[in-house]
């Protein structure tokens, strides 16, 4: 056991191997804070405690120089002990992954070790933040390790797959490159395995550090520090016109540089971002009309559900920015399980005990209205801007159904005019926003220029609780 109370000795004069786990641990942790908690041996895994932006953290790193980082019982044991330490200290744990998976030569013993590692990761789920930074290939069990954690960050050389290209070729005959099988494109855009893909290794470390800070150094909401801005400034004039929601999110949070968007390219019709408001970590969930018109679909509902549950488990309040036309219709969606996967979002919000505040900016319709943290699901506060529509569907769409026969008899040339007239009548009848306030599904109509302080005040006033559940990788 190597353990020192002073700063680690200067590295040997010859250039350090960048794959050396000690180099990686030292790089990741704050300068001079590293304390090894496992032996530097042939186990293929090295663990340390230290600080990350001042937060006490447990970190482990695979050693790809030894059997490609493959893990036997000893290597898995190092991880299990690191988890026990992190659980005892109530500190976040970070894995720096670069491993071919279980050690074949060790047989079932290594599989058993892997299983014990998965078990403690699951036991820790929702209790302490778990972050994975994948720096090289992470295959087999070394793929499922990161996948069980809360956040997976993929560096430029990172690869994640159950089996590599050679096995795929010999078993299925598919010719595929490693990057296409398990790089940033498949996992960032298609599978949702990776939360954040980075262009450089340094950025991967930095995102990992940022996640430690956001999840474990959440800060306290200082409402007096929250400056109001006109949040509607970035919206298009036409209510029909789609827009990118990112500028709105940037205006809601304190500092967009301090934010991490999770799954930016996967299921982009919903945006999930961790950032700070009034100095306190918050989770922002926003429909993005630029993609799929902002519709919820099977994948985006699932993405948002996992985010809600992670934030709830770690006591991170939620801000839900709603502009949603509905669930995406279609055969593809039904067959993709939009009912089952959409139900996850209902479950996640209804279960969450963290402060969760909804803002309807333009519209919220139908089933998606319910799913986006509605009053009925237990929202802490529901705000709406003065021009927002809260309805079962758009007025024109509604009259097309309600007055189908009458419209069919109208001269096609006049149909649009009649539709619009009926829609106006329908809007009055349905009651719109005043009616939504009257029946209590919207608590308050607020101006875009006072929204930031309203959100912050609502969060600060709510009991600060956290959900007692794990964060299953939904």
């Amino acid at each position: 056991m190597t353990s020192t109370d002073h700063a680690p000795a200067p590295a040997p004069v010859e250039e350090a191997d960048p794959r050396d786990p000690l180099t990686r641990l030292t790089t990741f942790l704050d300068d001079g804070s590293l304390h090894l908690i496992s032996a530097q041996d042939r186990s293929g895994m090295l663990a340390a405690t230290g600080t990350v932006r001042g937060v006490p953290t447990v970190v482990f790193a695979a050693d790809p120089r030894i059997q490609g980082g493959a893990l036997g019982a000893e290597g898995c044991g190092v991880i299990v002990e690191a988890y026990e330490r992190a659980l005892a200290d109530d500190s976040p744990i970070v894995g720096l992954w670069h491993s071919g998976g279980a050690r074949l030569a060790d047989g079932v013993v290594s599989l058993n070790g892997m299983g014990e590692m998965f078990a403690i990761m699951t036991r820790a789920s929702g209790k302490i933040p778990q972050i994975s930074v994948v720096l090289g290939a992470a295959a087999g069990g070394a793929a499922y390790g990161p996948a069980l954690t809360d956040i997976v960050i993929l560096g430029p050389d990172g690869l994640i797959f159950v089996t590599g290209p050679d096995v795929v070729r010999s078993v299925t005959g598919e010719n595929v490159t490693a990057a296409r099988l398990g790089g940033a494109e498949p996992h960032g855009r298609r599978s949702g395995v990776v939360h954040v893909a980075t262009a450089t290794t340094e950025e991967a470390y930095d995102r990992g550090r940022q996640m430690v800070s956001l999840l474990s150094d959440q800060g306290r909401m200082d409402v007096s520090s929250v400056q109001d801005r006109d949040l509607a400034a970035t919206f298009p004039e036409s209510a029909k016109r789609a827009y990118d929601v990112h500028p709105l999110i940037a205006d809601v949070v304190d500092d967009v540089e301090d934010c991490v968007e999770l799954h930016p390219r996967w299921a982009p019709s919903i945006v999930t971002t961790l950032g700070r408001l009034g100095g306190r970590t918050i989770g922002v969930i926003a429909n993005n009309p630029l993609r799929l018109g902002g519709c919820l679909d099977a994948t985006s509902a699932e993405k948002a559900s996992r985010f809600v549950r992670m934030c709830d488990a770690f006591g991170i309040p939620l801000v839900v920015l709603v502009d949603v036309p509905g669930y995406l219709p279609g055969v593809g969606q039904e067959w993709d399980g939009v009912v089952r996967r959409g139900a996850k979002l209902l479950h996640a919000f209804a279960e969450a005990v963290v402060p969760r505040v909804t803002l309807v900016t333009r519209k919220t319709y139908g089933g998606a209205y319910i799913a986006m943290n509605s009053r009925s699901l237990g929202a802490t506060r529901v705000f709406a801007w003065p021009t927002a529509e809260v309805a079962v569907m758009g007025h024109v769409a509604a009259v097309r159904i309600l007055h189908r026969r009458r419209l069919a008899e109208v001269d096609p040339a006049e149909r649009v005019t009649v539709e619009n007239e009926l829609a106006e009548e329908h809007a009055v009848l349905a009651g719109g926003l005043p009616r939504a306030v009257e029946i209590g599904v919207v608590d308050e109509v607020i101006e875009p220029t006072t929204t930031r302080s309203a959100l912050a005040t609502a969060i600060a006033a709510a009991p600060q609780r956290r959900g007692e559940h794990g964060n299953i990788p939904l």
């Binding site: 789609a242 009309p289 018109g293 036309p325 995406l328 279609g330 593809g332």
Partner: protein
Amino acid sequence: MAIQEVVSDLVANVAQVQVEVGEHVEIGHELVLLESMKMEIPVLSEVAGTVAAVRVSPGDVVQEGEILVVLS
């Protein structure tokens, strides 16, 4: 020269085509305006490049995954 095929995210009507073959576009340039879900949804370029082909015209109905514009 890399080719980028810009596809539709969803079933939609093509309302407007805002680029011509040979035109240079920057990131964020509006290529096509789609109508779907009662909304006007602009399709923006994710890369800078030259329009190599336009595969749709106003009034067309496009399916999810259908190519709208090819950039090079």
